[in-house]
Symmetry: C2
Subunit: 309 residues, 2 copies
């Protein structure tokens, strides 16, 4: 078994427009780079080589909390040294905390000889999400660990379903404004009209069928959110312009990534994905908001091993 491993943990897009709290997909770019070494004194040591000033105490660090949950289920506590190079900006809505949590437990599982299953790893990593946002949600962690498009059918007990999907080119813009996950959750109404719920679940069913059939048109028609987006998009300046212009330019569809502020668009080909990037750049340059753009694809393997020895 390797004593040291270096992995890349992918950014993820949760919700996928109509699939609030249940759907997500993994991206090729950006990724967090993490190195985990086993050995030395029992316990967990964390080092960050990025500039985000994140807490280093294991209990307060998202990767640390996830690893501690995993270590609790081991017969004896090993020594771990974790080095994190965070490249997915925290607060982007691209699953930054999930990448750290998921990457850490996937790495540890490999160093330990894979005693844990995928659902076990999701369960451990959810402890990192709790540190980050106060809620043990799994909709970023699951695609980060499994890759591709994932469905969380139910959370108690955890029921994860991997969905086949055709190749997709994804454009993501992260406007550099702050939207707190807790705020994005609080502004949602606790009740929804049955009529709207029916329209939403028609779209969810269509999106799942579209992915599995590889039917791009059906995917596009199903990427409609009548419940969450109309409320949350208010928190994201430029959202309506980006979305309208991208749809007019031929994006399959898209919307808010997770709880925002990032916005993503799915495309059939790379050329279109670059066109969406131009549109996003124009919109945010015009309204004077700093932004990062990623033109990427769906990551189909989840956390990737870069080196091990």
């Amino acid at each position: 078994m390797p004593r040291r491993i270096k992995i890349a943990a992918p950014a993820t897009v949760a919700n996928l427009v109509c699939g609030f709290d249940i759907l997500g997909l993994a991206l090729e770019d950006p990724v967090d780079i993490m190195e985990l070494e086993i050995g030395g004194a029992p316990g967990l040591r964390i080092r960050h080589i990025d500039d985000y000033g994140l807490p280093l105490e294991p209990e307060r660090n998202v990767a640390g909390a996830a690893l501690l949950a995993l270590m609790e289920e081991l017969p004896e506590i090993p020594g771990f040294t974790l080095t994190v190079d965070k490249r997915i900006k925290p607060g982007s809505g691209l699953g930054s905390s999930a990448a750290s949590s998921a990457g850490a437990v996937v790495a540890a599982n490999i160093l330990l000889g894979k005693p844990f299953s995928g659902p076990d790893l999701v369960r451990f990593a959810m402890n990192g999400e709790k540190v980050a946002s106060g809620v043990k949600h799994a909709d970023n962690i699951t695609p980060c660990i499994y890759g591709g498009v994932t469905l969380i059918r139910a959370i108690h007990p955890l029921d994860i379903v991997q969905l086949e999907a055709p190749p997709l080119h994804v454009t993501v813009v992260h406007p550099q404004i702050e939207v707190r996950t807790s705020d994005a959750r609080q502004i949602l109404r606790k009740e929804v009209q049955l009529k709207q719920a029916i329209r939403q679940w028609g779209n969810i069913a269509g999106l799942v069928a579209g992915f599995m059939k590889g039917d791009y048109d059906l995917i596009g028609r199903s990427l409609e959110d009548v419940i969450i987006e109309p409320v949350r998009s208010i928190l994201i300046p430029g959202f309506n312009d980006v979305k309208q212009q991208c749809m007019e330019a031929g994006a399959l569809g898209g919307g808010i990534s997770g709880s925002g502020p990032s916005i993503f668009m799915l495309n059939r080909d790379e050329e279109k994905a670059h066109l969406m990037a131009d549109i996003m750049r124009d919109v945010y340059s015009r309204i004077g908001i700093d932004h990062r753009i990623h033109v990427t694809r769906v990551n189909t393997e989840g956390v990737r091993i870069l080196e091990q020895d």
Copy 2:
């Protein structure tokens, strides 16, 4: 082109537990038998050879209303003579009106040389549903016309998706009590908790994925309805006993067919389907309610041609 056609229009199960208003499947049994002849004086003549005493004026007859909608889009009005042998009991929750409406327009389309598409036929047949229940719903008509398991992603504009599914054995019991579709709709709350809606759409996504993957266990886990069934099942005596005993005996899952009162159970094999029939018979015999039971399979072809000349 044939001048006369005899068809079998299948009963259907709408909603499929968690897919309220969007999912449905067609059954091999029971079916309505209908004969349509083209020729004679322009206009529509209807005859019923069953004992249900249904109205014969085309505007008030469900098959008639559907055929009239089709005839309106023809360049010149032909003469049609329709003979209906209704075998799906009206008010059963098994799509009796949908079978008449759908069967009539599919038959007419064949006699006319198939000028109309599937979605056209659904649109025409919805006029029959309006006569039957006051609402132009498509969740029985669509599986009746297309066969198999169908999704109505959206109704405006109509977006129909056929879903692959593994072989399924279906047991249906029709307790002979009256539940009006309008009552079954009125007792539903107009608003649902977001939390419950999320659980419901997780199940819908799981059910669609389960059908398409041919994953019986996933189908079973996803057949859960936290929104409609808890309310509507109150109108159906014996429902809880039937459901609980069938689940304990190994049914994949099941629930109310359409708006009831029929109850259906999906099974992996025929033996189980007969076991569910025994359970249903016992429950309704014990509480003294007359009932009809069907042990059948999913019809995968929709309306079936029996004879044409």
